[in-house]
Structures are given as structure tokens and as C-alpha cells.
């Protein structure tokens, strides 16, 4: 069973349309949503969570089309603002969640609090951004969720905290039936964690692909403008002038034998596709 299945999801606002988006996350996989501000990542996540009403399409979470309390028992969510009331201490948050989730695991929650060095008596409003996010993640991981949905959960965190968070997420997804949908501006985080990468641009999906396959398929060709112009059209996905000549995003298998193609990072690939893509 797929953890998440989105088909033809459409949502229109004045001046913006999330346009006919379809994607699937199999169990045991991590899918990263990459997109610039206003690309539609949060609209997509809000549609999945039922915070906004899509104009069309379907969202199936863990085999259920309806977002019922029973389904949400198995979904852990961390939003960019976390959303925990500012006067609550971590101990009070634990009590509120214990009264909310049937599967709440207080022992596990306390283990996370300890591991993440979150104080029990301090109020949420006195936490740093990193601590707030860590508490959000501790809550999301303490009710035996099978699907995690994270919207910009690593943004604004320092590298050490981000590394801690990524480690927690790796442990979560180590279990076969666990899956993660994660959006972030920090492409390197997604590159470290994700099995699948999705590029979102102006409300549309530019691509949905396995990360390793993307890195295998695409490469960067560097040369003079003439060298780039001479490349076969079938190989070139995008091109741009560089201070040292020109560079092209190319499909490795369509390149002439012996061509010098360097590896490309997911971040470079995304920027290329969005800015220079055709």
C-alpha cells in the first residue's frame, strides 16, 4: 500500500494555480519537495492535510481518501511554525498529546525530550527556533505514525540541529512501512535523506524521479559557447552562459561518447531547470 497517493490535485487562488499535481510515495520511502517560495509546496501539503479544499483531484493517505481522526492517528506532521501553544511546557504538551492520540507513547516522548535536550519545565515561547522544531518532531514521532509530513521542518535550524533532526528522520524511515513527505528550501538536507525528489515550480511538478536515477541521468557539460551549441539537441535539457564560457545540463546517455560530463548536485539541477529550463 502506498503511504500517500495524490492524483490530479488542483487548487486555484487569484494569481496562482496548483495545477493537476500527481505523485505517489510508496511505503518505506522519503519524497522531497523542492521549490522556490510560492512554488506551491505548502499549498500541496495543506491540501493533503485538509487545511484547504482542493478544487479537484484526490488525496489518499495510507489507503484512505477521507482525513478521519483514525487516519490522522498514523500521520505525524511538523509545520514550519510548529503550532504548539506558546505557554505550554513540554510536560504539558505531552499530557495534551496523550489525551489526543490513542497511540501516544509517553516513554518514547520522554526519550526524545532527553535525547534532544529539551527542558521539561520551560515554556514553548522561551524555546529557540531549533528547540521548537525539535519539540514538533518529538511530538510527531511519539505516536507511532507511519507517515511523516514535514513542511520546511529544517529551515532556520543551525547545521548541528539539522543533522540531529535528519538522524531522527533516518531512524524513522528505517522501518519498512514508514514514509516521509518533506518540503525544504535546504536542498542538501533533502539530498541526504530522500529516495525521491520532486521539483515544484509555479504550481506544477517539473519532475518526480528517484534521486539516484536523477544523479545518474543528468550531468553538467562545461565548455565554450561553440562546444555547447554543438551538442546534440536530444542531450541538452538546459543551457546557460558562465564566466568561463557556457554550461549545459545534459542527459548523460544522449551525449557523444568521450564527452566530459561532470556530476551535478540536486540543487544545481533544480536551479538549472527552473531558471534555464526549456
Amino acid at each position: 500500500m502506498n503511504a500517500l497517493d495524490i492524483q490530479n490535485l488542483t487548487k486555484t487562488y487569484p494569481g496562482f494555480t496548483l495545477d493537476n499535481v500527481s505523485l505517489t510515495i510508496p511505503g518505506g520511502c522519503v519524497l522531497g519537495l523542492i521549490g522556490e517560495n510560492g512554488a506551491g509546496k505548502s499549498t500541496l501539503i495543506k491540501s493533503v492535510l485538509g487545511m484547504i479544499r482542493p478544487d479537484g483531484g484526490t488525496v489518499t493517505i495510507l489507503g484512505n481518501e477521507r482525513r478521519t481522526p483514525l487516519v490522522m492517528e498514523e500521520v505525524g506532521v511538523v509545520l514550519d511554525e510548529v503550532g504548539i501553544p506558546s505557554c505550554l511546557t513540554t510536560a504539558q504538551v505531552g499530557k495534551v498529546m496523550a489525551a489526543s492520540f490513542r497511540n501516544w507513547d509517553q516513554a518514547q516522548y520522554e526519550r526524545y525530550l532527553k535525547a534532544l535536550a529539551l527542558p521539561e519545565k520551560k515554556e514553548f515561547k522561551d524555546f529557540s527556533k531549533g528547540m521548537k522544531m525539535k519539540l514538533g518532531i518529538a511530538v510527531a514521532l511519539s505516536h507511532h505514525a507511519r507517515l511523516l509530513i514535514l513542511d520546511e521542518a529544517t529551515s532556520g535550524l543551525d547545521p548541528v540541529v539539522r543533522d540531529e533532526v535528519l538522524e531522527l528522520l533516518r531512524s524513522f524511515v528505517a522501518q519498512e512501512d514508514h514514509a516521509i513527505l518533506m518540503s525544504s528550501h535546504i536542498v542538501s538536507d533533502l539530498e541526504k535523506l530522500c529516495d525521491y525528489i520532486t521539483f515544484v515550480h509555479k504550481g506544477r511538478l517539473l519532475l518526480v524521479e528517484e534521486k539516484d536515477r536523477l544523479l545518474e541521468e543528468y550531468g553538467l557539460f562545461l565548455g565554450s559557447q561553440e562546444d555547447v551549441d554543438a551538442l546534440p539537441e536530444t542531450a541538452v535539457r538546459a543551457r546557460r552562459a558562465s564566466p568561463y564560457g557556457a554550461e549545459a545540463l545534459v542527459l548523460r546517455e544522449a551525449m557523444p561518447q568521450g564527452s566530459r560530463v561532470t556530476p551535478i548536485s540536486i540543487e544545481e539541477l533544480f536551479v538549472f531547470m527552473v531558471k534555464e529550463g526549456k
Binding site: K46, L49, G50, M51, I52, R53, T68, P69, L70, M72, E73, V75, V77, L79, E81, V82, G83, I84, P85, S86, C87, L88, Q92, K95, V96, M97, A98, A99, S100, F101, R102, I149
Partner: protein, 209 residues
């Protein structure tokens, strides 16, 4: 819904302590004052009606509004949490008022079950009517417009008390209506509260966050 109520209880203890102190002071004034007690009896219920509104306001500011939709609750349960909170708070206030007014009547040697009952019926009705009118507006239009409506209702409430009362007795005013009319008023208020509850759920179900 237990988690939602617990969260609101923690917030009430943190942010509405002043309200709780004011309520206790007003109850004490209600016992010892020889003056017209209309305001001291009515005002705690107006404060009580304000607490769920404040909770919605804090929910918006802390982004709990969004987070609560990621928890295992329906939108109906999220709205119902505020109505249940309102009933609990106003219920406690009504019990405290019954106690303070009984003590006051006994101290003055003028205890009348009928007069006390009628007073409590009217107060209970008022305790339901104010939030009934405020909460759907808040769920439809947001907290700020709801607050403005609340202020309008404070004025309206005192106008109604002024019209239905003449001179001082147990609650500082003598209610002109018979007890059965008080029961009818409470019945109407309860029906309004139920309709308001359903309407708020309907508004919130359509709201996009």
C-alpha cells in the same frame, strides 16, 4: 476532545488568571454589598463568555489552529471544544452565583427560592446567549470582528436588564416575569446555543487555513 479541553484549560490558567480573580472579587461583592448588585452578578458571565474567544485568539496567534487540524480531531470536534469550554465555565459561574446569592439572601433574611431560581434562569440564559451570538461570527469572520460584536452585546445586555427589571432585590434588580417565563427564556437561549454550535461547525468546516 479531551486533549483540546486540556490545552484550553492550561491556557486559561495561564492567561485568564485575572479574569478568575475578578470573578472571585465580584462573587464576594455580591455577598456583602447592600447596593444594587446587577452589574456584579452579570459581569462575571460576560467575562466567562470572553474566555473561549480569547482561546481562539491565542490559537490563531500560536498557529495552533493549523496544528490542531493535523491531530486526530474533526473540525466539528475542534469547534465543539470551545462550546464545551464555554458551558463548563458558565456552569461553574452559575454554581458560584447561586452560592453567593443564597448567602446574601440569608444574611439579609430575605431568602426566596423563587426569586433565586428566576435570577439563575435569566443568568443562565444570558450566559448562553452572549457566546451563541459571538462564536459563529468569530468562526466566520475572525476574532477581531467578534470582539467588536462582544462590546456591542455588553451594552445590549445591560439595556435588556434595565428593561426587564425595576428595583433592587437579590440580584440588585427585581425581575418582572414569572418563573415559567424564565424557563421559557432559558429554553430559547438553549435552542439558540445549539443552533449557534451547529452554525459554527458549518462555518469552520468551510474555512481554509
Amino acid at each position: 476532545m479531551k486533549g483540546l479541553l486540556l490545552k484550553d484549560w492550561y491556557q486559561t490558567l495561564k492567561y485568564c488568571r485575572t479574569y478568575l480573580i475578578i470573578v472571585l472579587v465580584f462573587m464576594a461583592l455580591g455577598v456583602f454589598s447592600q447596593e444594587d448588585l446587577g452589574f456584579t452578578v452579570v459581569y462575571p458571565f460576560l467575562l466567562g463568555a470572553m474566555i473561549p474567544v480569547n482561546m481562539i485568539s491565542y490559537d490563531t496567534a500560536s498557529h495552533w489552529e493549523s496544528m490542531s487540524l493535523t491531530l486526530p480531531y474533526t473540525r466539528g470536534q475542534i469547534v465543539s471544544g470551545k462550546y464545551v469550554l464555554c458551558l463548563c465555565l458558565q456552569g461553574v459561574l452559575l454554581v458560584l452565583t447561586a452560592l453567593s446569592q443564597t448567602v446574601r439572601m440569608c444574611m439579609r433574611g430575605s431568602f426566596s427560592p423563587e426569586s433565586l431560581g428566576l435570577t439563575l434562569l435569566i443568568l443562565a440564559a444570558m450566559a448562553l446567549i452572549v457566546p451563541s451570538l459571538m462564536l459563529p461570527v468569530i468562526y466566520k469572520l475572525g476574532v477581531e470582528k467578534g470582539r467588536m460584536l462582544y462590546l456591542a452585546f455588553i451594552g445590549l445586555t445591560f439595556a435588556i436588564v434595565g428593561i426587564t427589571a425595576t428595583n433592587a432585590d437579590a440580584v440588585g434588580v427585581e425581575l418582572r416575569m414569572p418563573v415559567y417565563a424564565g424557563v421559557a427564556v432559558l429554553g430559547i437561549a438553549a435552542a439558540l446555543f445549539a443552533a449557534s454550535w451547529l452554525l459554527s461547525i458549518r462555518f469552520y468546516s468551510k474555512r481554509e487555513l
